[in-house]
Symmetry: C2
Subunit: 224 residues, 2 copies
């Protein structure tokens, strides 16, 4: 069956890309893991590059649709009042993290791959990511601006950057600190817990300096 082979290849490629990266993963490794012929990739996808593109497109598009959907749900169900900052953040970060939970359909593997790809420098990857993320970032930026009227646009821009950084790192799941930590804590992070921890952290960061915190950051610390 046509459909099956393509899917099998996509799944195998996804897993290997997440484990080793794009350049380090050969078509032979992919087809071998998928149990299909080497030529299948070029037959069904045209090239390795096109395969990479489809691996991402297949998951990112529904994931971002889910984000937008949750955001619109928040905006319509609150009546006149604005959705809370925490709700906005959760709408943005929960879809990928919940995807990480579903180990069955390969979502978990993809999330790791996506997390790594946020910092992928290749031109192809950058433009592809940009195209897929543009509408999401735009919508959320407006929502955050309404939820944080006291934060100037430039500052908000940076804080959204910071949020993306936190999310990308957790998605990549490198767990640098876990590898190191002398005091090992709860090993399999519960997704609901993680979303809540992250939401609280990011929300506090986004509100900082608005009179909500006691943060006494004097510029003096910076220069040394």
């Amino acid at each position: 069956m046509t459909r099956e082979t393509k899917t099998i290849i996509l799944d195998a490629a996804e897993a290997l890309f997440a484990e080793q990266g794009f350049a380090a993963t050969s078509l032979r490794a992919i087809t071998s893991r998928a149990g299909v012929n080497l030529a299948s990739v070029n037959y069904h996808f045209g090239s390795k590059e096109a395969l990479v593109d489809l691996v991402f497109r297949r998951r990112i598009i529904p994931m971002n649709r889910e984000r937008i959907s949750r955001l619109e749900g928040l905006e319509s169900h609150t009546g006149g009042s604005e959705p809370s900052l925490e709700a906005l953040i959760a709408a943005f970060i929960a879809p990928p993290l919940e995807m990480a939970r579903d180990t069955g359909s390969g979502g978990a593997v993809f999330v790791r791959l996506l997390g790594r790809s946020y910092t992928e420098p290749s031109e192809t990857m950058q433009t592809a990511m940009r195209a897929m993320y543009e509408p999401v970032i735009d919508r959320f930026k407006q929502a955050f601006a309404r939820a944080l009227p006291g934060v100037p646009p430039e500052e908000l821009y940076w804080r959204m950057h910071f949020m993306v950084g936190v999310l990308a790192y957790m998605m990549a799941g490198t767990d640098m600190m876990r590898l190191i930590a002398s005091s090992r804590v709860s090993d399999p992070p519960e997704i609901g817990d993680l979303v809540r921890r992250m939401t609280d952290f990011v929300a506090a960061g986004m509100r900082s300096g608005q009179g909500y915190t006691l943060s006494g950051s004097d510029g003096g610390i910076v220069e040394a």
Copy 2:
């Protein structure tokens, strides 16, 4: 001269790794850019893998020494009182970000590379990073625990994760949002500004739920 050739190769490799990643960068590309013979890499370093290792070791070790040095400076100069949370965060994030400013000696290029490598999945990279980061993480963990007595160890563990995530993403400098942003803001981020913005964001996040914020999340971490 022995010293020079090794250094020239290290610089060229560093730049290309940052631009394209490890696997996508060939020894021929490195030696060509460095203007040396192809065999030089194997002669001076033994293998490509050993070259990669040295590229990191050369910069990370002094960088982490600087972090520890700033931390010790804080701890000794405050007399009896503990250093502020903001000061601790700045001691951790400023060295790499300031390194990103020095475009002359290649520091800027290395910071991008290092940021990307936080999420590098290869076994070699992971264990190398672990060995270099272990002492730093341990020391800062203790300092943060003293500065945030109300945050339970497990929660603190996650919040340090979040801090590393923010830092790694900014170091990688992918600027996903900048590529997208319809409203372009200040283009070359001033390092001092960035350190302050990031410190404020992370500090607020680290303190969240301690009664310092109005964060309305229902999480059970409420501290008197």
